[in-house]
Structures are given as structure tokens and as C-alpha cells.
Amino acid sequence: MSKYLMNKFIHHVNMSEAAEKEYKSNPRGYVEEWEKSEKLKLTSDEREALCNRDYGRLYALGAHPFTLWSFTEAVWAHEVPRDELVKDYKEKAAKAGYPDFKT
């Protein structure tokens, strides 16, 4: 069920301005604190990908593509121009192909 939990975190950050701000200011601290309040647990791979805002890895691990792009833009576009972000996201996604995103 951890793929579900990884998606739940992405969804949570994507839907809330406050969560988005806190996560951007301290990704690792925010992920670890959030996970404590959850009954389910992330795998170490999933946790590291979330702590590093590593959208390429999250995509490869089966994050839902629709929400993942929205999340990626929300948590990176203040640091990376959107065109560059789109290009890099697509390159990383292309390497992973089409992972199963069913939870």
C-alpha cells in the first residue's frame, strides 16, 4: 500500500497552499513529520524521492502522472523556469516509460 501513501503525500501537498509552502521550505523535515501521522509507511525509496522532490524517481515508482506533474510544477517552478522543468520532467519520464500507476 505504500504506492498509495506516496500518492497521498503528493496529493496533500498539491491541494494545500500551506503544505506546499512548508514542504518547499524543508522537504525532508516535512515528509518525516507527515509520515509520523500516517498508519501506513513509505518504502525508503519512496521516502527519499519525496525528500528530494525527485519527480523523475516518483514517476518511475508509479506516482499518478496527472497529480505528479501538478505537484512538480508547484514545488519547483519557483526555482526552475517552467520550460526547463517541463523538458527535464519529460526526459526523465521518457526514461521510465509508462510505469503502472494503479494503487
Binding site: P65, A74, K90
Partner: protein, 285 residues
Amino acid sequence: MAEIVSIIGITHNPFMPRLFKQANRPPGCAKIIERIDMMREKLAQAKPDVLVTIGNDHLHQFFMDNMPAFMIGKMDTYDGTFYDEIREFGLPTHHVPGDVELSDALMEGAFDKGVDFAYSNELTIDHSITVPLMFVRPEMDLPIVPILTNCIAPPLPRPKRFYEVGQAIRAVIENLQTNKRIAILVSGHLSLEVGGPKQFERRLMDPNFDASAVGWIAQGDVNGAVNHCSFDQLKQSGNMTHGFLNFIMMMGVAKATRPSYAEGLDAGFPAIPFFSWDAKEGVAR
């Protein structure tokens, strides 16, 4: 007896409203706006009292902790939209009136037709409902009954079931003891990719699928549609092509009759769907 006075199928592309306002908008926008204007006029001419709006929540209100296959909103006012859609797409918020009486009647009637809708008394609508309204009824003055499908979080209901649910909606409406003039506004996609390696490409994702899909609707070819639209088949045409399933439900509402208008517009974007069944051509029969 209630009458279905119009069925319209249209895009819910959430980037379009902002794009249309840009001074340097891509040249293809003019054609899209022309089609939208045509659909808005068709809806106005049908003089509906209420809109049944069929779309799909995009992991906003519903998430994988609690994912209904098909659900009906039961509220007298709906808020749209969500924080992320305001941030990403620049979409405005809305308050849209609802028709609770019709929501209840559809819900109860569908049980008797073998369709068990989930329901919500606290539903916020996302771009799949608000964007089509912005396009064809920007006044947002008509009460709506939102019907949402799961075509985004697999496992998905089967294509045949989308068709059957559409048939049930039609049958229930035709048996309602009301004089309301009811229009059906459906939104969905043709081939489309979001969040994958081909996202944001300004071209038809899969021209062959788009042509086939428009053909199934234009010809009322239910077998063609339901036999080519499994989850795995649709993802070959783009990872979010599953939004086409809403249009299979639309075929059910239309009893697979031939539409007055059917097009997958190539305007330099992924194909933009436009479908209509106009009252003068027999939508009520």
C-alpha cells in the same frame, strides 16, 4: 414528462480559458473559440431549465482512499474549484446553483434501472464541470446536477458500463414526472497525455484513435467504442485518453443515435472534441 432538449459533448481543457485571453495566443485558438460559440448558441436555443453535467473529478474531491465509480452531487449550490487549479491553470472560483430534486430523482430512478450511484452532499466541482460551463453557459445561471465518473484512478469501470450508465440516465429522465427541459453537458477527452513523456505537445496525440473515436460517436457504433476502450487499449493513445469514457456514457444518453455534430478538432493541440445532439434532429425521441 421530462424532455432532453440538448446533449453537448465538449473539451474541459483547463488551460484554454487563460490561453484564450492572451494577446499572443496560438493561431488555432480562433477555430476553437468559433466551435465553442456554436455550442453555446446550440445550448441557448434549446432553452434548458436545468443542466445534467457529466465529467470526472481529477483526484481533487475524490482520492484513492474513497473512490466512487459513478456519483451524483446532491446540493443546492456547488463551489468550484480547488486551490491547485487556481494555481496551475489560473481558473476562477464559482458558485453554481444545483437542482437537488432532480439529483434525488436521478439517484432513486437509477437504482431501479440497476445503477447504484454514490452521492455527495458536500461536493466541490473541478475543471471537468466548471470549464464546460465557462464555455457554453458562462452566466452559470442554470441549476446543475453534476455526475462524476472515475476515468482517472484505475481500476476503472468497463467501457460497456459507462454506456449502460448513460442509458440508465436517459431512461430515468424520460420517465420523470416533470415538465423540466433538461440538457446534458458532457466533458471528456480524445487522445491525451498529461504528466507523461508526451505531455504539452501541441499536436494530435494519436490521430488514428481520434478519427476512430469520433467515428464511433458519429455512427452510433457502440460495439466499436466498447471493444476498443479498455484501460490498456486507451493508454496506448496517451496516458490520460481514458477521459474518452465519459463520451461513451454520452453515447448511452443519446441511445447511440447519430449526433447533429461530431468533430475532433485539430487546432494545433491534442484533438478538441465537439459533439451535439440538437432537439430539432430528434434528441428527445
